[in-house]
Amino acid sequence: MSTTKKLQSKASRKKKWGDITLQVVMTIVAILFLVPVFIIFNYSFKTKKELYLGNAFALPQSVNFDNYAAAYKKLNLGTTFFNTLLYTVISVLILALVCGMTAWAIARCKRRFFQFSYIYFIVGYLIPYEDWSLSELQERTALVQEFDRLADAIVSAGIETAETHEVVEEIFYEPVSKKCFA
């Protein structure tokens, strides 16, 4: 009820200068906010040559979907999109159910256990979630270890060379032919 009252009183006001400037300002802000999105959209239709050589704001020469086809292939978009969809739908269902139950119970029951569990959950939200998959971690560690081994080998070879060799100065006498007065 109070919202309809509010709308009427605002729309029936006479348009003042303040309203017009606000409108203009918000339009400019909205355009500025959308510029990066439009530019990326623009980029998605450009060929590589146009990207590097042309002006960033220029419209693409022709609308070709080559970039989209390449992205589809590289991302394997069919499978990955389906996976993401599955993951999202199931997560949302579970979250809606479990969070709804839990929030209702915490809000309705004033016992200490529930106050404590409220704080318990909030603490969890604050923790940044780090999901390292074990295989990825192993690969990266193996790479770094390999690099370390190579670096060690190079350094030890250098040290060996420096230890077993010496810098020696040698004086050469070169025969030089000189003209003699005949």
């Binding site: 109070s2 919202t3 009252k5 509010k6 009183s9 605002k10 729309a11 006001r13 309203d19 606000l22 409108q23 300002v25 918000m26 339009t27 802000v29 909205a30 355009i31 906010f33 959308l34 990066p36 999105v37 530019i39 990326i40 980029y43 002006n55 960033a56 704001f57 479990v98 969070c99 139950m101 839990t102 209702w104 119970a105 915490i106 309705r108 029951c109 004033k110 016992r111 200490r112 256990f113 529930f114 569990s117 318990y120 959950f121 909030i122 603490v123 969890g124 939200y125 604050l126 923790i127 940044p128 979630y129 780090e130 390292w132 971690l137 192993q138 990266r140 560690t141 770094v144």
Partner: protein, 293 residues
Amino acid sequence: MGRKKLTGSMDRQYLLLVLPGLIVFTIGIIIPMFLGLFYSITDRDGMSAQKTFVGLKNYLDLFRDSATRDAWWFTIRFTVWNTILQNVFALLFAVALDSGIRAQKLYRTALFIPCLISALIVGFIWLRMYSNVLPSINEMLGTEINFLLFGSKDTVLTGLLIANNWQWIGYWMMIYLAGLQSIPADLHEAAKIDGAGPVKRFFNVTCPMLAPSFTVCIVGITTGSLKVYDLLVASTRGGPGRASTSIIYQTYTTAINGRQFGYGSAMSISLVIVLLLVALVQVKILKKREIQV
């Protein structure tokens, strides 16, 4: 009401409702956190099976390490600026949109779209913007403004603030909008009858009624900016040198690339403690100002 045992079928049902959430939460978050706590007092290097206990050496090293101190300093500056800028602008835009201009839904959508993009993509977009798109304005207009904000350690914070704020202002603006629209119009009308101008009304009617939205926004923005990572990975990778390394970025590079799992866990735990303290302080201060309508 003293501490009662959970007797009675009603209490049992309440408990049953909370249990699934508690179980999943404990397995998913609390146990790994305690594992991390355990690792933080060891010397583990990620893959080898040996774990030598080093006690609190990791935590002491945290204070002596200048890289970690720089990371903390950057994260704190980023958080403070973010909190101020995002709150102020989100509130301003929400008030502007709520004051009866036309095409309100259009502006709301336009400002909200950037927060649907993941932070990784936002970093990617702004890297291209600063290096390719904006300098081409220089070519078109013949000016010579320096747009390479990610190139020097003095301007990299500004560049990241612009990118992050671009993404998130719309989101917090929606929360303030919802809060604004839940203020009963009678209060505004009563204030108008009493002769209060718009500015006075804003500070004395709107702001107190918006206190719950303030709590949500301030706590959310602070914890979100303390956890910044994806944005940095996609755009500056720690900045020129180490100028834009956040504490989480430092944790990742130490734990994975530097293979100092134990030390990284100690950094992680210290971040959790700081987050807890910050959130607790904020919630305590802000909740006092809330009025229940």
